[in-house]
């Protein structure tokens, strides 16, 4: 019944039943209608049939009259199946005249057994009208009609008042009609049924089935099938409903997935319970929290009562019940058993999902960390308490206003308060400091409140009844970011530390003072030593130019060489101090590496020669001619290494090799090797070789001298050039120092191949010194010139003849001068001048001593081709020699290889031209320039910076000054300006700039600074010669009209820094026997002027024009009082520049003032001592 009721409530029933009822109603109506129609039709049919029979009988009566024929006819008619009775009556009373029952014929109508016949006949006779009667029960139809006959015919006699009675049986007609009606009814019913079925099918197809699908999808979805969806059958309303339903399902899926994902990705455990005590669903976090598995979950084994300890069950169950009843319950703490048995403290919150409280969901938060954190907090608090009570540091807790809410004993002790004071709530730490610190303390308190913390801060506490106490205070806001949060302030008594700091500061100041004194001493010493040394050297030079006897000249030479040695040491010290200060830099200019190497060889050749050492030089053919780097520093390193090699080699040779270590396209890493046959270095000494102030051992220092700074300087320079430096050495055999330097490549074509290589010359080198011959061969073969060696002339002759016989004769014969057995004349005689062997080119390898005196001329020998190469044979000379031999014409005319350039004064080109002052900081460049000047016949003195140059020029009237622009202390520009200022208008010493910055702008800048000419580094000998000839030979024309003299307009009246007359006037003011006013004034000036000058620099650096003007004005007055007019004038110019805002000009003038101040100081100190 329940199922039937449920089915009747279904949509299908609600749709199908009305349709079925409608169909049935239609069918019923059709049946009723058909029945009615059936009755009408039946009556009509039967009546028509009866009428027809009656008419026939009537006609028969008309034709046959009464008699057997009529009876027979009636029999025929009544033979039909539907005819029950035909009775013809006539007469009055009516009598049966014909009937289909023979036995009735002749009877009166009233005697006929069938009473109906009598009634109908009687009725017919009475009314003379037709009538009928339906006997529904008998299914018969009675019809009667009066006979309508013509009266006047004989045949109809006896038929008067005749009546025909017909009784029909309706079964057959009824059956026939019934069949038709049944068919119609069935058709209608079938149509109704068909309509019903069709309507139902359509409803089912388009509504019920899709709705059923949607319902089933809903059922599946409700059963948990997440993939359930309703099929969309057609794009109609149901389809739209299904689509909407599917979208709803999709949204639901997404929502579920989101919640599922949320639950699964959550670190919080999520669970649900359905009805009973068991947990039905849970996320991974929950399972992991309890160490459970999904199988346990699926098996319903995670029952709450078993998950929690017995003592928690009742409380938990009560909380769960409250949640099931829908009551809001706050999260409560409980404990779960982990699968491992461990207890997990958790925080649980649950809520009922539905009204009946069957489903419950909840979250579980693992409370372990919080519990542990609480524990840690308690421990931390304990530690804090211990710390608070330790008494080491003062710790207070304050509110945002600084009011102390809690303090430990240490703090109370510091401030001299008691806990009773603390209880008054009026203790504010900001007020506990000394009055001078209160602003700072207030600011610190505000900073704690705003920024959260402060860096440790030194303050001074003002304890009650005690001296102020220095303390270190730091603090931090606790309890969040709110500015009103309380703070913790830690106060550390640093009285002891302050005492120690004071001590330390005192010691530091002492040490710094000492260090500064040392630095000042060093700077002062270097300056002070160099200045007189320049004087000594310069004066010694002048002395040497005077007429001296031999002994005097030797003494003077010794003085000069000692001075130069001393300067070298000073230069090393200065370089090292620059390295220490990090001020050592390398420049980058284009230069020829070969020339640089050969320059060093040339520079040191005399020394090597003096020690009887051979020098060899090899430059690989791959080394380009033009490269970018610092030639001065490269020369410095090479000179240092080469000098060391010469110094530590007693016999044998020293060689330098240059080759390409690495080619990186844009640059080359060149490798330089300096080898010697000296004493070597022990392995232990190798380790500290490149450390400053370090030589192989102290005995070395004693034996060979030197500062021990050279290698350290070289190492630093090599590193600046991007290279490395090293050494390999065998004690007693010799050492090889090597270094690499990264140099830039410059555009230059490849060096052309030598004709000697092109024409495959063979060269025979005959030298008893095997190393010398080997180096020549190595260099020649680097140029692909085949070279053979022979040690003796006999061996050479053998080779010569053998080569001739082989058809490859030698083209060049290089013979060491003085070779035993070698007689060129005899050789030529023996071979014949015209012979093939006689046409061999002869190159004589002359010793170093023959550099200036070639000895016998080749022409004297009538040698077809002759050249002489003086040792050391430099690669450039050897190459030039080969080129010359390949071009006899050129060779004849220029004979370039005949001699080498020489630094020897004896080889000077003629008369003495004058004295030159060379200002150059790089010692090697300095020495090179000196050598060049000597070669050109000039006497030259070198100074290392601008200040020295200025001072040297004051002492010695040089004919010209070669001024390096970039120098330490006072550079070339400043020095030039100072010199021009000193000279005034009366005199103008030519100053020639030497700069590596080969730019047009540099030239203009130099000329603008007061210099007269310009030489680009590296300085070529010819250029130097032409420039000096231009300026030194014409001293009267020293000042070209087109060169502006920056000092001309402000020339001082006197060259002296101090006007002596002013000092003398001051002396006259002294009281006899009293202290000297002049000396006192001088002391004050000497103490105050450097401070003022320092103030000038500071004002300049700060751009403070007012201060600059004020200080310059003060210094101007002080200077003028003591007669230091140039300085006073400079100060006046500084004052004017500051007023005009021209700080750049003021900067130059401040620099000049510094130099002038130095001069004034010397002059004033001198005037005091002279007294």
């Amino acid at each position: 019944l329940t199922k039937i009721a449920s089915a009747l409530r279904s949509l299908q029933a609600k749709v199908a039943l009305p349709i079925a009822l409608l169909g049935m109603a239609v069918a019923g109506t059709a049946v009723v209608f058909t029945q009615g129609l059936f009755a009408d039709r039946l009556e009509e049919q039967v009546r028509l049939r009866a009428e027809g029979l009656c008419n026939t009988v009537n006609d028969c009566c008309e034709i046959t009259g009464r008699g057997p024929a009529l009876v027979r006819l009636v029999h025929f008619l009544a033979g039909d199946r539907d005819v029950e009775r035909i009775v013809v009556t006539a007469g009055d009373p009516p009598q049966v005249v014909a009937c289909n029952r023979n036995s009735w014929i002749g009877l009166r109508a009233s005697e006929v057994p069938d009473r109906g016949v009598a009634e109908h006949v009687s009725e017919s006779q009475r009314t003379r009208a037709t009538g009928f009667h339906f006997h529904e029960a008998r299914r018969s139809f009675d019809y009667y009609a009066p006979l309508r006959l013509d009266d006047d015919r004989t045949e109809t006699a006896g038929l008067e008042n005749g009546t025909v009675y017909v009784a029909l049986e309706t079964t057959a007609i009824r059956a026939q009609l019934s069949g038709s009606m049944t068919q119609s009814t069935c058709l209608i019913a079938a149509a109704a049924l068909l309509f019903t079925l069709l309507a139902y099918a359509l409803l089912r197809q388009f509504i019920l089935a899709p709705v059923g699908d949607i319902c089933r999808a809903m059922d599946r979805r409700a059963a948990g099938d997440a993939t359930a969806s309703a099929p969309v059958h057609a794009p109609d309303e149901i389809g739209a409903l299904a689509g909407t339903f599917n979208r709803m399902l999709a949204a639901l899926r997404r929502s579920e997935a989101r919640f599922q994902r949320l639950a699964e990705s959550n670190v919080i455990g999520v669970f649900s319970m359905e009805g009973d005590d068991a947990i039905s669903e849970a996320n991974q976090a929950f399972l992991e929290m309890l160490g459970r598995t999904r199988d346990e979950l699926a098996g319903g084994r995670l029952e709450w009562s078993r998950l929690v300890p017995a003592d928690r069950r009742a409380a938990d169950e009560a909380a769960l019940q409250r949640a099931r009843r829908g009551e809001r319950s706050a999260p409560w703490e409980t404990t779960f058993f982990h699968a491992s048995g461990k207890r997990v403290p958790v925080l649980v919150g649950v809520a009922s999902v539905d009204a009946d409280g069957r489903d419950v969901v909840g979250v579980v938060l693992d409370d372990t960390q919080r519990k542990e954190a609480e524990l840690r907090l308690r421990e931390s608090e304990t530690r804090f308490r211990v710390l608070m009570d330790s008494g080491i540091v003062g710790i207070i807790l304050t509110d945002a206003t600084g009011r102390v809410t809690e303090a430990n004993d240490a703090f109370l002790s510091m401030v001299g308060c008691t806990r009773a004071d603390l209880a008054t709530d009026r203790l504010n730490w900001r007020q506990l400091v000394s009055p001078g610190c209160r602003d700072v303390a207030a600011a610190a308190g505000d900073k704690i409140a705003v920024e959260g913390s402060i860096a440790p801060l030194e303050l001074e506490l003002m304890p009650a009844k005690r001296d102020p106490m220095p303390v270190l205070v730091c603090g931090a806001r606790i309890g969040g970011k709110d500015r009103g949060s309380p703070s913790i302030v830690i106060v550390l008594d640093i009285a002891e530390r302050k005492k120690m700091e004071v001590e330390l500061q005192r010691a530091t100041r002492a040490a710094e003072g000492a260090n500064r004194a040392k630095s000042e001493f060093l700077a002062s010493m270097s300056h002070e030593i160099r200045t007189p040394m320049n004087g000594v050297i310069g004066m010694t030079g002048l002395l040497l130019e005077s007429n001296l006897d031999r002994e005097q000249r030797e003494y003077a030479e010794t003085v000069r060489s000692c001075g130069e040695a001393l300067l070298t040491i000073l230069n090393d010290i200065l370089d090292f101090s620059k390295i220490e200060a990090g001020r050592l830099a390398v420049e980058t200019v284009e230069f020829d590496v070969r020339s640089a190497v050969e320059d060093v060889v040339d520079l040191l050749a005399p020394i090597a020669h003096g020690k009887g050492l051979d020098l060899f030089c090899f430059v690989d053919a791959e080394v380009p001619r033009a490269m970018a780097g610092d030639p001065g520093r490269l020369r410095q390193i090479l000179t240092n290494l080469f000098g060391n090699a010469i110094k530590f080699t007693a016999s044998g040779h020293v060689a330098v090799r240059t080759m390409v270590a690495e080619d990186r396209g844009d640059g080359l890493l060149l490798r330089f090797e300096v080898s010697d046959t000296g004493i070597g270095i022990s392995p232990s000494a190798l380790e500290r070789l490149f450390h400053p102030f370090s030589q192989a051992d102290m005995s070395t220092t004693r034996r060979f001298g030197g500062t021990g700074l050279g290698l350290a300087i070289s190492k630093r320079l090599v590193e600046l050039m991007g290279g490395e430096i090293g050494v390999r050495s065998i004690p007693g055999k010799g050492s090889t120092f090597w270094f690499t330097a990264r140099l830039g490549r410059r555009a230059c074509g490849p060096e052309p191949q030598l004709a000697a290589a092109r024409e495959r010359w063979r060269v025979l080198c005959v030298d008893p010194s095997e190393p010398a011959a080997s180096f020549i061969r190595e260099q020649a073969e680097a140029w692909n010139v085949e070279t053979d060696l022979a040690e003796t002339w006999e061996e050479a002759l053998d080779r010569l003849w053998k080569a001739k016989e082989d058809g490859r004769p030698y083209r060049v014969l290089m013979v060491a001068k003085g070779l035993s057995g070698f007689d060129p004349g005899a050789f030529l005689e023996s071979t014949g001048r015209k012979s093939e062997i006689g046409r061999i080119a002869l190159v004589v390898l002359a010793p170093y001593a023959d550099r200036a005196t070639p000895g016998r001329d080749g022409d004297d020998l009538a040698w077809p081709a002759f050249a002489q190469l003086a040792k050391p044979v430099k690669p450039s000379h050897l190459r030039e020699c080969f080129e010359a031999l390949a071009e006899p014409a050129r060779f004849r005319s220029r004979r370039p290889a005949r001699t080498s350039d020489s630094g020897e004064p004896a080889a000077a080109e003629g008369a003495l031209h004058g004295r030159i002052l060379l200002a150059e900081d790089n010692p090697v460049n300095q020495r090179l320039a000196l050598a060049q000047l000597a070669k050109l016949g000039y006497h030259a003195d070198a100074v290392a910076n601008g200040q020295e140059a200025v001072e040297a020029l004051l002492r010695i009237p040089y004919d010209a000054v070669l001024m390096d622009c970039q120098m330490p202390e006072v550079d070339g520009f400043w020095a030039t300006a100072l010199m021009r200022q000193r000279e005034g208008a009366a005199k103008r010493t030519p100053i020639i700039a030497m700069t590596a910055n080969a730019m047009q702008g540099d030239r203009d800048r130099c000329l603008a600074a007061g210099m007269d000419d310009y030489l680009a580094k590296p300085v070529k000998l010819d250029e130097l010669r032409s420039v000096l000839e231009r300026w030194v030979k014409r001293p009267a024309d020293a000042a070209p009209a087109d060169v502006a003299d920056p000092a001309a307009g402000s020339a001082s009246e006197a060259l002296d820094p101090v006007d002596v007359s002013v000092l003398e006037a001051l002396s006259q003011l002294d009281d006899p026997g009293g202290p000297s006013l002049r000396d006192e004034l001088i002391d004050i000036f000497l103490r105050d002027a450097p401070l003022k000058h320092a103030a000038l620099r500071e004002a300049l650096a700060a751009g403070d024009r007012a201060a600059l003007e004020r200080v310059a004005h003060a210094l101007k007055g002080a200077s003028g009082n003591l007669g230091a007019r140039p300085l006073a004038q400079l100060c006046a110019r500084i004052e004017a520049s500051a007023r005009a805002g021209e700080l750049a000009r003021a900067a130059a003038e401040v620099a000049l003032a510094e130099a002038e101040l130095a001069r004034v100081r010397i002059a004033l100190e001198g005037s005091r001592e002279s007294d």
Partner: protein, 323 residues
């Protein structure tokens, strides 16, 4: 399942639609003849109904009318002579089968003539009126046979059975072959006299009830019931002659005495009595062949032989029914 439900519904409708109507009555065309009135007696006494069969006797004026009604299909069977049986089988689409012999004519069929014809021998050259479709030719033939004459010696004139007396009186014929009850009417004329009757042909002229073979095959039990009712009516007529004769005479529209005279010219046969005649080669079979032969000789039947299958004892009970 839905299809099964619909199939059931259709099956129910089909059964309802095919419910057979109650069996219709067996309609037997009946003509006037004394023995046939026993069937009328059975109807009037509702012996058919008591035997469980609805038999309607449809009355006709002559055997020919009854035969034509059968041929038209108005009735399912008829009372007739073997001549009507054979003729109906020859002419029609239907095939009547003799299921019951009502009687053997024992004088009820008579050849009646007027003076001067006194015997069949006198018929030579005379006009003899006969119902050509019935046993008239047979009776004339047999009469001529008895006189050594043949049918060719007379002229047969076709008359209706009910018209015999007037045809003879008017002289249109000189002799008539007439069955009872018409023969009694003719003989009532004093000038007329019987010169030959079926009494001289014992067992040769029979009356039968023929039923359409389809009806017989379909409703054999009803035919059997009909025969049982016949037997009971015969017994009723024998055992209660006054009552029965009155009923039967009323139907014949004669007096009881006349009817009894006429009935005397017939020997009624119960079903048991007639069974031997239904045996193969039995009297009935022979009579059919003889009748066929004579009718063919008189050119009243042509065509194929229809004598086979004309009789059936299917309706004859093996035991006589007693009340």
């Amino acid at each position: 399942m839905a299809h099964v439900r619909w199939a059931k519904l259709f099956a129910i409708l089909a059964v309802v639609g095919c419910v057979e109507n109650p069996r219709p009555p067996i309609r037997i065309g009946i003509a006037p003849w004394p023995a046939f009135e026993v069937l009328y007696l059975a109807q009037e006494r509702e012996l058919f109904a008591s035997e469980g069969v609805d038999v309607r006797l449809v009355e006709y004026s002559s055997l020919g009318d009854a035969r034509r009604a059968y041929e038209r299909g108005d009735v399912d069977g008829m009372t007739c002579t073997l001549a009507e049986l054979l003729r109906a089988r020859e002419r029609g689409q239907r095939r009547p089968v003799a299921i019951l012999m009502t009687d053997v004519s024992n004088g009820a069929d008579a050849l009646i003539a007027r003076a001067p014809i006194a015997s069949p021998r006198d018929l030579a050259g005379r006009r003899v009126g006969v119902d050509v479709s019935s046993i008239g030719p047979l009776l004339v033939s047999r009469a001529l046979d008895s006189a050594g004459l043949a049918l060719r010696h007379v002229t047969l004139v076709a008359i209706d059975a009910g018209d015999a007396r007037r045809a003879l009186a008017e002289g249109r014929v000189e002799a008539v072959a007439s069955p009872a009850p018409e023969s009694l009417e003719v003989l009532r004329d004093e000038a007329s006299h019987a010169i030959f009757s079926s009494a001289e042909l014992p067992g040769e002229i029979v009356r039968i009830v023929a039923l359409d073979d389809e009806i017989l095959a379909r409703r054999t039990s009803d035919a059997t019931a009909l025969v049982r009712a016949w037997d009971r009516a015969v017994r009723l007529a024998v055992e209660h002659p006054a009552e029965s004769d009155a009923i039967m005479a009323g139907r014949e529209r004669t007096s009881v005495e006349d009817f009894r005279d006429a009935l005397d010219g017939c020997r009624l046969l119960s079903s048991r009595e007639q069974r031997p005649s239904f045996a193969p080669g039995g009297a009935l079979q022979r009579a059919i062949r003889d009748t066929d032969r004579i009718l063919r000789a008189a050119d009243r039947i042509r065509g194929d032989d229809h004598t086979a299958g004309c009789i059936s004892d299917a309706a004859l009970p093996w035991t006589e029914v007693r009340d």
